[in-house]
């Protein structure tokens, strides 16, 4: 991990997070930003490997930064760091391309552990987020109704199976045991689900924009 973006408006928390990041990734260069505007400027100037974004910021939402990163630096891993644990706040960020989330009030060790796991490609997935993902894919515009240029993304049976089990309250290690899959395979499924959620959400947004354009014409 070379370049890390840290977007957080509260100085104390920022300091604290910086210390934590330095612990987990000792060799990294940390770029700090307190506002969305500053963060977007950094995104256009520096190539990042990891971004930790707060959601509620004085001049907007961290989701915009996540989206910009997904757009311009698809290699960068975005992680949402927030005080909001509810999926109403988390889901839009995940749709925009965030790869996982950290809850700020958790103990330092726990956050460090989760950050490490995420950077190793093991994002978390809670039951409520899983339910939101399921309903997102269920409500997707059917393939025959969408124009040619907009892709249709669907989950594989295995991915669905994992999602359904998470939604029922099973933890990822438990599911690995149930499906006789390794920890890494399960993690790959979850990553894939996040990716597909992002691609599908952007396709739906494009479709929506096209529809609005159609009405405007």
């Amino acid at each position: 991990m070379n370049n890390i973006l840290l977007l957080e408006d509260l100085p104390e928390i920022r300091t604290w997070l910086k210390v934590l990041i330095n612990q987990v990734f000792p060799q990294s260069q940390i770029y700090e930003a307190a506002r969305v505007h500053d963060a977007l400027e950094l995104v256009s100037a520096v190539k990042f490997n990891l971004a930790l974004c707060d959601l509620g910021l004085p001049d907007g939402s961290g989701v915009d930064v996540v989206a910009a990163l997904r757009e311009h630096q698809p290699e960068c891993q975005s992680v949402v760091v927030t005080i909001h644990d509810d999926d109403d706040h988390l889901f839009p960020a995940l749709q925009a391309g965030a790869f996982g989330y950290l809850l700020k009030e958790q103990a330092r060790e726990l956050i460090a552990e989760q950050l490490k796991r995420m950077s190793q490609g093991e994002p978390p997935l809670s039951p409520s987020i899983a339910r939101r993902v399921i309903s997102h894919f269920a409500a997707q515009t059917r393939p025959q109704e969408r124009p040619q240029n907009i892709p249709h993304v669907s989950l594989t049976d295995r991915e669905n199976e994992v999602l359904l089990r998470v939604a029922k309250g099973f933890t990822l290690p438990e599911i690995g045991v149930q499906l006789n899959l390794s920890r890494h395979t399960i993690a790959d499924y979850v990553k894939q689900i996040y990716r597909k959620l992002n691609v599908s959400s952007r396709a739906e947004a494009a479709l929506e924009a096209q529809r609005l354009g159609l009405f405007r014409r």
Partner: protein, 636 residues
């Protein structure tokens, strides 16, 4: 012509013609017997009544009995169209009679003349004793009035009385109907009381009944005209109203003796009146069948002009012939319209088809019989005294009117019903609008409340949350940072309870399971969670979710922090009414306080309190070495 049975029948066509004629004759015979019944209900009942059928008669230029011609013997009833065709003027009849046997010597006697047309004067033994009215134009028209003449006892002799009748009549060819042609029925002499009775009966049927029904349909006509005026779209009411009124006016001629015009004018007017009446009848039937034809209307109007023109061109001497030709034309028009109406009615399966068929059939019979009378098919003069059309047509009109009023009443009922439905719909719509409005304002209130809640939640997160977070991560003391973290969690749960919607119980269980298993796993405690396998659709209020989350979290915290357990069992059970959660560990248990209650430091009291807030129950069992069991029961 008078006897169809005498006509040889050759071939099928003849048979049908003969059958038709037979049918007409049967009808006429029926009518004749009816006439006989009406005219003389007690005829010849008393021997005291003398009937004179044989008289001497002579045409008279003036009121001198013997004119240029010598009197000849004639038999009564004397129909002028047979005995003196084309004669128009005065005829003197002379009869001799004795006082009827069986009468008291001083009993009052009278002469009864059932039909005399148009008028008469009576002389007894040379003295004028009675006059029916004017004998010169305009002649008084007594054709429908039976005449009763009281014979003064002073002039009456026991034997050899001479009775002279001076009759003013019109030739058949100068009148529009046979009923108005000159003629004299047989004479009856007898006790005044007996004959007065006969005259009263006869007069009732010939005049009074006609007057009654005329007034009835006149009034009915006016009512129908008003109804038609009120409901414009149903033109048939108007047509029927005018038809009834016109017929009522036409029956004036039956009972109005002294019209101020001479015979030619009256007969012309009468005949002309048939054109509009038939036009109205045709228009009524067409409009009742929902048909309309511009050319039929024009043809009827043209006919209205054509009929009087032909009468005028033909002159008064050919009135009867032309009029009867027109009657046939008009009758055919009427029949054609009836057939058309009935056909349409049958095709549309109208409910009044049979009723109208009966009435129109009756009308057909009446018209056929009347035309047969005009052409004198049967040769029975009694038929002239039967008020066929003047009585029959109004009765049929009344029949139609009954049906029309029924239709009108139905329409009224339907209108009332539809108005009621409409009102009900308006009421429903109003109620729905009110309901929607109430819902809308409720929604608006909810929206505003929701917005406010979100604002409060955002504020809490941004201000209080940020500060607590700072404490969590900057405090040197582990205890303070733990407290702050717990406070933060509490705050988040409260905010969730504030803004949350009801949650599916299955989803709540999934969330609890994930959190509990994760936490126990991180603390290296083996978790064994078993819940209901089948999906339930029951909902859990946001507050209940938050409170249960806190209780469960507290219980798990206790196990992790204090119990030293290696294993934890969680069981969930859902029934229709309640939801149960049992958490059991194999740790060292919670020590008892002195008062027998479980240690407050383990948050037992707050767990119980939270359960109570949800109308639920939280029970704990614990003992050293036995571990701890927490049983939570909540109503759903």
């Amino acid at each position: 012509m008078s006897n169809p049975l005498g006509i040889p029948q050759h071939g099928a066509k003849r048979i049908t013609r003969g059958a038709a004629r037979q049918a007409v004759c049967v009808l006429m015979a029926l009518a004749a017997s009816l006439a006989a019944l009406l005219t003389s209900p007690v005829a010849h009942a008393g021997a005291a009544i003398v009937t004179i059928t044989s008289v001497r008669a002579a045409q008279a230029a003036n009121d001198q009995f013997l004119g240029e011609q010598a009197p000849v013997l004639v038999t009564l009833p004397d129909d002028w169209s047979g005995s003196r065709p084309r004669f128009d003027g005065l005829v003197r009849y002379r009869a001799a009679f004795d006082r009827p046997p069986g009468t008291e010597p001083n009993e009052l006697l009278a002469l009864y003349v059932e039909r005399v047309c148009s008028n008469l004067e009576v002389f007894l033994n040379g003295q004028r004793i009675y006059s029916g009215g004017r004998m010169t134009e305009p002649v008084t028209r007594n054709c429908h009035y039976p005449q009763l003449v009281t014979l003064p006892s002073g002039l009456l002799q026991e034997q050899g009385n001479t009775l002279d009748l001076l009759v003013r009549g019109h030739a058949l060819n100068r009148v529009a109907t046979r009923q108005q042609a000159g003629g004299l029925s047989e004479l009856r002499i007898g006790p005044q009381a007996l004959l007065a009775e006969q005259q009263a009966v006869r007069r009732f049927w010939s005049v009074s009944a006609v007057q009654i029904v005329a007034i009835a349909i006149g009034v009915l006509g006016v009512v129908m005209i008003v109804l038609g005026w009120m409901s414009r779209q149903a033109a048939y009411f108007s047509y029927f109203g005018w038809l009834s009124l016109a017929w009522a006016l036409m029956s004036l001629r039956v009972w109005w003796h002294d019209m101020p015009w001479d015979n030619g004018v009256i007969e012309f007017l009468f005949c002309t009146a048939f054109a509009p009446i038939v036009a109205l009848a045709v228009q009524f039937l067409l409009s009742y069948a929902d048909l309309r034809s511009r050319w039929i209307e024009n043809a009827l109007a043209l006919q209205w002009v054509l009929l009087p023109v032909t009468l005028l061109l033909g002159g008064p001497a050919r009135l009867f012939g032309i009029a009867n030709a027109w009657y046939v034309v008009l009758a055919i028009e009427t029949f054609a319209t009836m057939v058309l109406y009935l056909w349409v009615s049958w095709r549309h399966r109208r409910r009044d088809f049979w009723w109208m068929l009966g009435i129109l059939g009756g009308a057909c019979v009446l018209v056929i019989v009347e035309i047969a009378v005009q052409y004198d098919v049967s040769g029975q003069p009694q038929l002239l005294q039967l008020p066929l059309l003047p009585l029959g047509v109004p009765l049929l009109l009344l029949g139609i009117a009954a049906r029309l009023l029924q239709v009108f009443a139905r329409a009224l009922q339907a209108a009332e019903a539809s108005r009621n439905t409409l009102e009900a719909r308006v009421r429903e719509a109003t109620a729905e609008i009110e309901h929607n409005f109430a819902q809308l304002s409720e929604m608006r209130v909810e929206q505003v409340t929701e917005k406010e809640r979100k604002r409060i939640a955002a504020d809490l997160h941004d201000d209080l949350g940020a500060k607590l977070l700072t404490i969590v991560h900057t405090s040197e003391s582990e205890r303070i940072s733990t407290l702050a973290r717990e406070a933060l969690e509490e705050m988040r749960l409260s905010v969730r309870g504030l803004t949350g919607k009801p949650m599916r119980l299955a989803d709540a269980l999934a969330d609890w399971r994930a959190e509990t298993v994760l936490r126990l796993g991180q603390a290296n405690i083996e978790a064994d969670w078993r819940g209901p396998t089948e999906e339930t659709e029951q909902l859990l209020p946001a507050r209940s979710f938050v409170q249960t989350t806190r209780i469960l979290r507290e219980a798990v915290s206790n196990i992790i922090k204090h119990s030293g357990a290696s294993h934890c069992k969680v069981r969930c059970a859902i029934s229709d009414r309640q939801f149960g959660l049992t958490v059991q560990d194999n740790g060292k248990g919670i020590p008892m306080e002195l008062d027998g209650k479980l240690d407050r430091g383990h948050g037992m009291a707050s767990m119980k309190h939270r359960a109570k807030q949800m109308q639920g129950q939280c029970l704990m069992e614990s003992g050293p070495g036995y571990g701890t069991v927490i049983r939570l029961t909540l109503p759903l």
